[in-house]
Symmetry: C2
Subunit: 207 residues, 2 copies
């Protein structure tokens, strides 16, 4: 199946700025994208990066500078289903986790992200359209139900764990073994173990 991987080359992970500088965030975002592409490949499917601008990566890249929702719906309308979408900031994704999303037999399959997002999506119904704003997992569930489709939900921590905030980097160090985890180790980002949830310290000993 064709798997769209949207990638915003212009705004690389600004919420990580307490820990990483702009060029570091760009490199780290590219490493996460590589991990997602590797996981899709390991699952035996074909990734197609949907980028806001030109990008040097080992996969076909379609450049479309529309906002995410419009860009994905454009592909859905042009190419039709089946089509999958997987976000690019999932450094814990594995072939096994991606298979659980892509190989699930249901007209609509959804993998929730932390905080109400939709990190993975399979569309096998021609009438379905996406909307990635706000609590999109709730909206996608409702959109499926409005078409009389029962969405299948994938219960995966590896697919839920998108990286947006400094604390998320701890999960990459704890559970990742791909390029993003390696990048963090090389950059000197380290686990900081306290009583509550584990956090990180940045390359400069910060944040």
């Amino acid at each position: 199946m064709r798997v769209l991987v949207p990638f915003d080359a212009t705004d690389s992970k600004s919420r990580l700025s307490p820990v990483l500088a702009a060029d570091e965030r760009r490199d780290f975002a590219a490493a996460m994208l590589e991990d997602v592409l590797d996981a899709i490949d390991a699952a035996g499917h074909d990734a197609d990066v949907l980028a806001t601008g030109p990008l040097d990566v080992d996969a076909p890249v379609t450049v479309n500078d529309r906002p995410l929702t419009a860009a994905v719906n454009h592909v859905l309308a042009e190419a039709g289903p089946p089509l999958a979408v997987l976000v690019a900031d999932l450094p814990l994704a594995t072939g096994r986790a991606v298979s659980r999303l892509l190989d699930r037999a249901a007209p609509i399959v959804l993998a929730p992200g932390l905080g109400g997002g939709t990190n993975g999506l399979v569309v096998r119904d021609a009438a379905f359209r996406v909307d990635f704003h706000g609590a999109s997992i709730r909206d996608h569930r409702r959109a499926a139900e409005a078409l009389d489709l029962e969405p299948a939900m994938v219960d995966s921590f590896r697919l839920a764990m998108d990286v947006d905030e400094p604390g998320d980097l701890a999960e990459v160090l704890l559970h990742g073994d791909g390029q993003a985890a390696e990048w963090l180790l090389d950059a000197g980002v380290e686990l900081s173990v306290t009583d509550g949830r584990v956090d990180v310290t940045g390359p400069d000993g910060g944040p």
Copy 2:
């Protein structure tokens, strides 16, 4: 299988204090415990609450006021394996998710929690001991490997999503349909949808 569910009756979720008062936190923690017990029952296993003090709940309760790690290791030493542990603050747990943990055939099965914790654990090897301090998922993995055992990891968002912080309540409202979700709705805790991850507003319109 016997599933220990540790429950600290003395310190109910203090990190939720920006949103919930002390008596609310106690009631909400009890609702989460009920959800976990329901999920274990739905998976066809037997829950045994390991509480720091007397507790009124529809399951056998063993009172042991030792710290968590010592209390669980005491049961492991006395009763021996197989033994499972599932934390009490998993309001998204379902029978299906719990089955993925308990029915996995491996000497040690681990379900990671957000932030380095271990939310679920199955011990089928008599030499294994638990240690819930710090980044316990890493320590449990190493402890298994030190016994020459390859731990099986359960990739579940529902089991990873323990509730400690106000933002976690958003996940309960988005994905829960048990007693904890119902309690939040009744208390007037509501989703607050912004551009980033979804958050909540408290009963008083706060936090």
